[in-house]
Amino acid sequence: MRGFQKPRLSRRTLLKGVAATAFAGGTVSIGDLVGASAQGAAAGDATITWGEDNDYATLDPRVTQSRHEAQAIMQMFESLLFLDTDGKFSPWLAQRWEYSKDGKSITFVLRRDVKFHDGTPFNGDAVKFTFDSVVDPKLGSQGAIDFLGPYKSTDVIDPYTVRINWTQPFAAALTNLSNPWLLSIVSPTAVRKLGNDGFARAPVGTGPFKFVEWVPRVRVVMERNDAYQWAPKVFKHRGPAAFKRHVIRIIPDNSTRVAALERGEIDVCDAVPPISVKQFQGTQSFDVMVGDVSGIPLAHLINTQAEPTNDLRVRQAYMYAINRPQITQQVFFGVAKPAFGPITPTTPGYWSGVEKLFPYDPKKAGSLLDEAGWKMGADGVRAKKGKPLEIHFITLLEPDLEVAVQAAVKEVGIKLNVEKVTKARQDELVMNGRYNIGEIRWVAVDPSVLDIPFQSHNIPAPGKFKFNWSRYGSPQLDQMLLHADGQIDAKQRAATLGEIQKYVLDRGLMFPVHISAQPIGFRKAVRNLRFAQGYWQVLFYDAGV
């Protein structure tokens, strides 16, 4: 009789083997992700990981136009002065600054103890190099070049004193120069050695974190700058950062990113969807901080050149027919606040008078439409001379919100045809004027952002993609905007800005809907996260576990 021979590879052995491999593989990969955070022997060795919702194309502050790339850039680069979320300026790479008498130049006295990550000393030459290269067409700057305004030149008066000159007074000068992701200072040595394209992939700045590696579409890794001693006074921390490694993990899908936070694979989560905010707030291990973004809120721009919105009464009726506090609460679960003006309350120059204009008043909307000849039909849609009151709405940013708006304006007899478009289609329709209403929102810290939707030279045309989608061109409005842009005196500027805000709302050019919210989810173990100016990006210098 043949004895029972144990098969060489029994099922049990196989299962054990598979389990062992999976376990080993699993611990290795989870291990090197979560790293030493929270469990790190010295908290100083910890890694803090940010989950980013958008991919990167460049890490050069002189080239970028993306508020997502900004998140990485502002940890590694610094500007001449620091603008906090409370609107106050303080010294950063420059110790003090002074306007010239004609308002066309500012002289900066620079710190002497600053070094770039590659050891190059920071001085006036680096400042001049940075700004001159921004305006050089060969660089292909997409954001900084416009931010520098009517830039003329930079004079290096002595190694630690520079004077920046503009062709005319530029009111946004200090605000823009404080921007740490557009007008921050780059290492001339590194740019000369690597070339512009190389520098974009291996950036060198003066910030609290220095660049280590960038795996495209996966992660950016930064490490503490051990030589860092020049943090702005607003930060609690002094000297090098309290943790070692800062990783940015790119996770475009919202639910995956949120799941990664819950699992602990990231420590801080960018752009938490409103519906998930509640699941993290008030829990033991997590919290959410919500930024009310500065600049232009999510707003509707109404085409004054296309029927039926070419009639002021129709535009105003539209604005009276929508209950902003209610819709915002419904669509965003209370995470975003309603907006009433073309710039948000956290933007300098905000005129609170906008909150009294266009309160929800469906009766008034109805009477305006009656006055304009649009009589209510039996099917609930108004009509004039047999033609129904149809408004063509193109949405790219927030289709859910616009569907709620569609339901709201139906109550007063407006048929809102909401078309969900791709960026390419939106551009085509906008340039050719084939729309009634479109969406806009803009993250900005300076009220000169109002030029974007309201300057007459920004009216789109075929081949020319600009943002004056109300297509309203008035020399009076242009004058007011130019005046505000050149007005160095804050009080006078605020007065002009107030007039502009009233002007555009009265004429039904723009209907503000809600302030953009930037909910940041994080593990409670991570302390001292801080919003950068504008309330979109987060600064990690103060942070620790």
Partner: protein, 306 residues
């Protein structure tokens, strides 16, 4: 037959040429300006836009752009990405390994799963096993990858914590491979099942049964070999699909890969990257089908070409 195969091989050149030319033309004909899309609609001044157009060579005429493209492509130089300025070959080279890994994982799981389910259903038709296998196949074909991915992440990543969600390494490849291979599993299972059922009634099968062989041996040894023909054809198709079709899986699992790269490049009208990727995908399809034809030669002694 050698001449036939050689002719097939030579045909690949005009096919690839035609595909990339089509891509070149279509990209430039659909509305949307790459410079504008790259600037993400920022209110960049005319100065900025013109600078960018010149930098990308878009201010040249269409025939000129085409000439530049062809001359460089023949040398293997596909230009630089509009978005990042990196050489296109480098951009694709960085993303390709992850796609191949995912394709490999998807094919292994897909083929294994498809064969197992299909054979089980073929062996025991019209039983609970058959019904179960075919339902699983239907689910694999019909469920959107996005939904399957979310469910799997929730169950195995969050609740059970058996695998990482956005990790690296072999373990992190499991869930994406399941999602990626689910379409193949479904298709193959149904195909294998019907092939086996078709073949079961053939004369040579009856002979095998008459010889007294157990049913399982009949199916696995004799029927399966012949049932594999349509399967091999389908695998050729799936192989091509695998290279470019991973965008949803790659996006949801935050993985590198040419699928998401392609979709992103199209949306941003990153012409050089799109053209190179279409060339890559076409090459994959052409050679996959060529490979299938060769496999047939070994599988079926009756096959003679030319």
């Amino acid at each position: 037959m050698a001449t036939y195969l050689l002719r097939r091989l030579l045909w690949t050149v005009p096919i690839l040429f035609a595909a990339t030319t089509c891509a070149f033309l279509i990209l430039r004909l659909i509305p949307g300006d790459p410079v504008n899309l790259m600037l993400a609609g920022r209110p960049a001044s005319e100065k900025v836009r013109d600078n960018l157009r010149a930098k990308l060579g878009l201010n040249r005429s269409l025939p000129e752009q085409y000439a530049y493209f062809v001359v460089r492509a023949v040398r293997g130089d596909f230009g630089q990405s509009f978005l990042t300025g990196q050489p296109v070959s480098q951009v694709i080279g960085q993303q390709l390994p992850a796609s191949l890994q995912l394709a490999g994982g998807g094919i292994i799981l897909g083929v294994t799963g498809g064969l197992v389910l299909g054979i089980a259903a073929g062996l025991y038709p019209n039983t609970l096993i058959d019904a179960g296998a075919m339902t699983a196949a239907l689910v694999g074909i019909s469920m959107p990858g996005y939904w399957t991915a979310m469910l799997l992440i929730y169950l195995f990543g969050l609740r059970l914590q058996w695998v990482p969600i956005v990790g690296s390494g072999l373990v992190a490849l499991i869930l994406p491979s399941v999602v990626f291979g689910s379409y193949a599993v479904g298709n193959l299972a149904r195909l294998v099942r019907s092939s086996i059922l078709d073949v079961r009634n053939e004369d040579y099968i009856r002979t095998a049964r008459a010889k007294g062989l157990p049913e399982r041996r009949v199916v696995l040894r004799h029927a399966l070999r012949n049932a594999l023909f349509p399967v091999v054809t389908m695998m050729g198709l799936l192989l091509g699909l695998f290279i470019g079709g991973g965008v949803i899986t790659e996006t949801v699992f935050a993985r590198q890969g040419v699928g998401a790269l392609l979709v992103n490049a199209i949306a941003n009208k990153d012409y050089p990257v799109v053209q190179a990727l279409i060339l890559l995908t076409t090459t994959a399809y052409v050679f996959a089908n060529f490979f299938v034809d060769i496999v047939y030669i070994f599988l079926d002694p009756r096959v003679r070409y030319g």
